[in-house]
Symmetry: C2
Subunit: 426 residues, 2 copies
């Protein structure tokens, strides 16, 4: 046994011992596992959770954290983000992704779904950080960003040649129905089928997209994706703010997961108007049996990658939007933020604390004032905790943080700050 | 000079030195103040803010943190909170308030507006913790909770006899227009006038209250308070979820402050229905010139006392509810959460970082991954930080926390947990 976590509290309030052998949970139960452990963690006054799963983000965009907040979307993109992104080098993406990984380790995320450019640099950063991720080959139609299809094919070649570490997988990421032509969507679906890859895509983030899709293609966006074959692959659909009941009912018959991004949707006012109608309809998604996951989106529109904060926003907004204070109760929220994302991304052997699962585990420090006293562990994880309450982060059986310290962090921070200054001119 | 904070970043991005003499800021500027300091803090990589002001809470209710979440309001009150509260002893309120103070120190709050029972115990706890607060003599009409008017009069006698520490002031707290008769509201207003005390009261938290008030008194709740003389005193009005344009316009002519509690309002679904209409109308309040403050409400309906989290909820919900991503920009949110609350409570010499103001200061640790890199300090305070990013908390010139350690915390936590277990049976 490589690692033993003794006397740790689980979500159901029980106190257990967790044994880790190699990169998997080998034991979890009331009795101490037999055999000596190489490393032992005292789990007294700690709450163990599966590592959080951030099912939609643009990791390297931590470089633009807080760069142009409180601005209208198009002005922000045109005046701030796009000019800065145009200056990003390979190294910048590497150090940006390293900083994002450091933040995720600090705040208890062990698996994420990434959508960004210069992917091989992100892969290297994720590998060096020790986290788990699905990266993506991205496509926007029109050719003005270069030969993106060629880049996707190259990424698949690298991936199939075994040049990715075990902890990193590849997906195909057509950007959104409004930026990718039906022909290109079909191309992506076929490529994903040929190479047995999952898909990630933005869907129905704003009302305008929905209206444009209906006007142009005669159907709402989820049905348009269905028609283009996208839904035949395991797909994560980021946002889904405006999905209606028919779309949610249809999606439940496909291997699709709606990835809710509450903070980003609020920050960019995707709901429009004081008499709010646009909000991800969790109650219906649940009733229809759609798999739901949770995500922070990129740091530029959040402004952090803290999944504990995201859980609180998701659950409270579900109560607010449904008018029902019992909607999305705490244990369900934790499930969405862990198993929901992992299953949606096809990483079905993580996102849960059970024997045989990958050892992706976080420990919350229950001695924090914010977590004392504790009547209900799940409620504490969702409503009381923030990412700063994470004491220990374990991914793939390896302790990446214990007591707040992350190896190499000082250099990562310095390099990322340097890159951010150069590309933004700040 | 008792304390010197060197080379610290301010909200406007400038780097300054802050000198503290006694309990006040004696210097703040680009040049080092003359004279030796007894204690020096290196402010490199730290962001200085005024201490957060939590303008409406029920501090000792941290004992019920997470005790019955995801339940409908009345069931929660009748089955959980009221039976547990009936068992609270004087000591329980003392230790509950101490734990609340520890959490506030940990998360950067230095002044709060408290509304709870067994007030002398809370006063003692606040004094021992070193924080600043306004406590209140509470009134619910009907006499079923004992002689509350007698208790208020007694509190005023204690207060006027100088039995409160300098850091604690008294207010009168009629609970709400729907639990206090017009005659009793008038009694409170008169008492507050006679003794020159401010008032705190709940107002328009739910739609039902508004409808009942109109039915019973012929006017909406804010106009009812005006008629009963409450608004002639400096008053903090907690919630204001359903205040309409006429009420907000009227309030702007009185020394009244609306205290927004976004997390609590979401958690208890005070907005009702998927097509949400009930949300504090910040844009109108601002346009009409109403002073606005921010608060967590009690931990039982939050589940923490973290004002940094509360700032993010307030600002993002203002954008969502107004449909305008530029509504309640970050610097304005910080102002509401500090000066807005302090002014509203009549503590007009705190809630700001300037020479002559009380030395209530918090320092955020900018080396946290979540706060790196930094393009805009105000944006970071509101959108990126959580209470766990607070490195140092200073109240009344005294360093209450430096690097996360709070004096006596272990005993406070143990005693509070013991009290919580006894009264809840958990």
């Amino acid at each position: 046994m490589d690692l033993l976590i003794r006397d740790v509290t689980l979500l159901d309030g029980s106190i257990r011992h967790i044994g880790v052998t190699g990169n998997r949970i080998s034991d979890i139960g009331p009795d101490l596992p037999t055999g000596e452990a190489i490393h032992t963690i005292d789990g007294t006054d700690m709450l163990a959770l599966p590592g959080m799963v951030n099912a939609h983000t643009h990791a390297a965009m931590v470089l633009f954290r807080g760069y142009g907040d409180d601005m209208p979307l198009m002005q922000w993109l045109e005046e701030r983000i796009w000019p800065a992104e145009a200056k990003l080098t390979d190294d910048d993406v590497y150090w940006g992704t390293r900083l994002a990984c450091a933040e995720m380790i600090r705040t208890g995320t062990t698996l994420f779904n990434d959508m960004y450019w210069k992917v091989p640099n992100a892969v290297r950063a994720i590998d060096d950080a020790g986290l788990r991720a699905t990266v993506s080959g991205g496509l926007i139609s029109g050719g003005f960003l270069g030969d993106l299809k060629g880049e996707i094919v190259q990424l698949i070649e690298m991936y199939e040649a075994g040049e990715f570490p075990d902890r990193v997988r590849l997906s195909i990421a057509p950007h959104a129905p409004y930026t990718v032509t039906p022909e290109d969507l079909e191309w992506c679906a076929q490529l994903a089928t040929d190479h047995d890859l999952p898909i990630q895509i933005h869907l129905s983030e704003t009302l305008r997209e929905v209206e444009e899709c209906v006007e142009k293609h005669g159907v709402r966006p989820a049905f348009h994706l269905k028609r283009c074959g996208i839904l035949d692959r395991p797909t994560t659909l980021a946002h889904g703010t405006w999905l209606d009941r028919d779309e949610l009912a249809m999606l439940s018959a496909y291997p699709a997961t709606v990835v809710h991004n509450p903070v980003s949707n609020l920050k960019l006012s995707c709901g429009q108007g004081r008499e709010v109608r646009g909000w991800f309809d969790y109650a219906t998604a649940k009733a229809e049996g759609v798999n739901v996951a949770l995500a922070t989106d990129g740091a530029a529109s959040n402004t952090n990658l803290d999944m504990f904060e995201e859980m609180k926003f998701a659950s409270l907004m579900a109560k607010h939007a449904s008018g029902d204070p019992t909607c999305m109760p705490a244990a369900e929220t934790v499930d969405i933020a862990t198993r929901g994302g992992a299953d949606g991304m096809g990483w079905t052997d993580t996102g849960r604390l059970e024997a045989g699962a990958l050892a992706d585990i976080v420990l919350l420090d229950l001695t924090e004032p914010t977590l004392s006293p504790m009547h209900d562990p799940a409620s504490h994880a969702v409503y009381a905790a923030n990412g700063g309450c994470v004491h220990t982060t374990i991914c793939d059986g390896r302790v990446l943080m214990e007591g707040g310290e992350i190896e190499g962090y000082e250099e990562i921070r310095a390099r990322a700050i340097e890159a951010a200054r150069r590309v933004t001119g700040d």
